[in-house]
Symmetry: C2
Subunit: 103 residues, 2 copies
């Protein structure tokens, strides 16, 4: 099921995991943050995956967040683009990246 797949993806995530949509400027911005920091991201483009709708629903069940981008560092749920930018500014994202051995 999509729910099991999402739970496994988060459980086994040892870096940055992002659920995204390929046409979405907020998702693009989030990818850009990590790219310019030289940090690799595992990206799932939900508009390009056959079960994208189910995965987006599973992410809502898992995190309470219905929107993309939906970002995880390790098992920690970061949130969307605004939370990412906030977390970059206040050092929280740096701390999370340290925990998974990045930065």
């Amino acid at each position: 099921s999509a729910r099991a797949k999402v739970a496994r993806a988060i459980e086994s995530n040892d870096g940055v995991l992002m659920y995204s949509k390929s046409f979405c400027s907020f998702s693009h911005g989030a990818k850009e943050v990590f790219r310019s920091a030289g940090v690799d991201v595992t990206v799932h483009e939900l508009d390009e995956e056959p079960d994208g709708v189910e995965v987006q629903k599973a992410l809502f069940e898992e995190t309470g967040q219905r929107t993309v981008p939906n970002i995880f560092i390790g098992k920690a749920h970061v949130g969307g683009y605004s939370e990412l930018m906030e977390g970059v500014k206040d050092g929280h994202v740096h701390d999370l990246l340290e925990v998974v051995g990045i930065k």
Copy 2:
């Protein structure tokens, strides 16, 4: 045709006209710019209109821009969200709004 409809909409536009998608944060941001300035906007949500795909193609033919939001002040093509923000900053949008009798 969608092309004729778009051409007519721009031709008869005497205020702010925006082609948008209801789920899109960039479109939301563009609407917010005008809302907080107390400026009315005629919004077309392309994901909610039955011929939205055709209209988006017609807008590309009309303006060279494939993306949303797609913003007009009078007959002037402003562009997308980035162009709007740029134009607000440098006063260009204020000038356009003056021409149509807003602000």
